[in-house]
Assembly symmetry: C2
Homo-oligomer: 364 residues x 2
């Protein structure tokens, strides 16, 4: 390794793992098979703002458990979908809950919608459900945003027991759960946990994305909406963009139809697990005094910095170290300095992982 | 013509005029030339949320008059871009201005951002600038949304004199102008007027789109942002969707690079002027008692209904007539019933135009 800066700031797939040739082939067939539909305002062709109908159907079928395609919304990436869901559900001044830490961009979305964002501390098996129970007893919350699988930024997975507790609380205290699960299929170890949507489809809005499974630039995020609020959410989406970008949706449909998704995921997992193991080995050997939850999938390890080192300490030395970090403080809705660092292992080669942990060790 | 219902509700290009084969070829080259860039989170490849850099460059060059690519934002359709601009510029409770009538979806965007929307009456040569001067003298307005060329829904074009008056008022009274001009290049008669952006690039946010020039489903809208607010707008865009859908932007870039845009526009204009003339002839012969402003381009004729007929009267008979209308009342921010009907002539064949005016005549 040279002394080049290593970018540890973003959870993006390595560019050389993007299936460029396959996407090109899918774009060609999508245009051959559906050209005119893909180029028109979609709500004219099929009376829906919800996305490309054949893809909606595939997604509903794959969800199973009674999911209907009329409750599917496919939008321009999952952050955009989350923005639509948030603004459909909340009004300025509403109270909402997130895990603490949580995905910084989602916290921003909630805050700019005017929400009061409260963090529920994250434990090794998911958020502190005792604390959650106290909070929802105390006052009304409109929704809980949760990333139950290989959480961003901590890598933590919510246990089955806690998934049940959280959905029971949502039913009892009448709040929505937005279950954001873009990494669900990127599990390297252990067994899949039940989706929270399976436990309470009437209270849970399930969100996923093809950004991590095929390619981010396609901007395909999607959600399954509970029946009660379906119309409201779809109206908000139509008022936002009339119809989402449909060409990419045709591409994803062709990719799925060809059976290319599962082999692509297998290829990604083979590469990502090597990177995860390299990170864990480097942390164990070089940073025994730090602590972290070992993720079973996804993109991130959340490092608890040892010896009182704060993110601000790290940030001050980031240029000297040649390491770029994302701002850890933004993962915590409470604000203030934190002893936390998110490491996006999928983005880095094993060599970059070794080098970056060596550089980090110097400063800790 | 059979008695099939005729859909007069939406301003969409006729599906048989969509350049499907050309778009397919552009999609293939875009993937060949830029595949990896198009599939990655774009802000990783070039440090920007603003869109596909080669397309940004082309758009800035074509704007001329000192437009810089760092002030270009290309988003997921122009309604989405308008939503980003609105929410970057206003806070709930702000006063904003629109022409009355104006594009219903834009009024919705302003209202859902919490704005107080005031309409400025439209005259045959653009909005009533005397009334505008009084209004901005009376109180503070944050912005004026205006469609100066072949307005939606009226078909009216703002005169050069009024363009100057409006931009002078904006500079004097410090409000933003959002100039929405998706039909600018679809001029069938007469000479281009100066863009308001040319008159006051520091106060005007210019918006355009490829929905009417290539295909709506690509969802490519764009804007040039005044330097003062560039950073704020781009941050709002990044917080909304990280990066827009890039594949379609690559397609549009290839389309432009091949020199296919101008011939495509010529082809559209040849077809649209026939439809416009058919509509005008039918109106003159069948409805001499109605009035309308003769548009020199665009998609719409705005019909002033004769004899006290209101939109609600029409709506009640719409099923019987076999005609679907868009809701004229939504074009007027004041609310209430109106003596107005928008006719989207580009969407209809000359036969449909003749038949629909015959049916309308029956009820008037």
């Amino acid at each position: 390794m040279t002394n080049e800066a290593i970018d540890m700031s973003r959870g993006v797939p390595p560019t050389d793992l993007l299936p460029t040739e396959k996407v090109k082939e899918c774009a060609m067939s999508a245009m051959d098979n559906f050209g005119r539909s893909l180029l028109q305002y979609h709500s004219k062709i099929t009376p829906t703002v919800q996305g490309f109908q054949p893809l909606m159907e595939l997604l509903a079928d794959e969800m199973g458990n009674g999911a209907k395609q009329e409750n599917v919304l496919i939008g321009n990436g999952s952050l955009d979908v989350f923005d639509i869901l948030t603004n459909s559900l909340v009004e300025a001044g509403d109270n909402v809950l997130v895990e603490s830490p949580s995905y910084d961009r989602s916290i921003t979305t909630l805050e700019r919608a005017g929400c009061n964002v409260t963090g529920v501390p994250l434990e090794e098996d998911g958020l502190d459900t005792g604390r959650l129970a106290d909070l929802v007893e105390e006052k009304n919350f409109k929704l809980l945003y949760i990333i139950p699988d290989f959480q961003n930024p901590s890598g933590i997975t919510t246990s089955t027991k806690k998934r049940n507790e959280v959905t029971e609380l949502a039913e009892e205290h009448d709040f929505w759960i937005i279950e954001d699960s873009p990494y669900y299929k990127l599990r390297y170890k252990g067994e899949h946990k039940p989706r929270m949507w399976d436990l309470s489809p009437q209270k849970v809005l399930y969100m996923s994305s093809f950004s991590k499974l095929i390619a981010p630039g396609l901007r395909i995020g999607w959600t399954i909406i509970p029946e009660d609020i379906n119309e409201k959410v779809l109206q908000y989406a139509e008022d936002s963009y009339i119809t989402p970008s449909i060409l990419s949706q045709g591409v994803v449909y062709e990719f799925l139809q060809r059976g290319w998704l599962e082999p692509n995921i297998e290829k990604l997992k083979e590469s990502y697990v090597v990177r995860l193991n390299a990170l864990l080995e480097n942390l164990e050997s070089k940073m025994p005094e730090a602590s972290w939850a070992e993720p079973e999938g996804g993109f991130f390890v959340g490092l608890n910095l040892p010896g009182g080192t704060t993110f601000t300490d790290l940030e001050e030395k980031s240029e000297e170290l040649g390491l770029n970090f994302s701002d850890s403080r933004k993962f915590f809705p409470e604000g203030g300095d934190v002893n936390f660092l998110r490491i996006p292992f999928c983005t880095l080669s094993p060599e970059e992982i070794e080098e970056s942990i060596s550089r980090l060790k110097e400063v800790l």
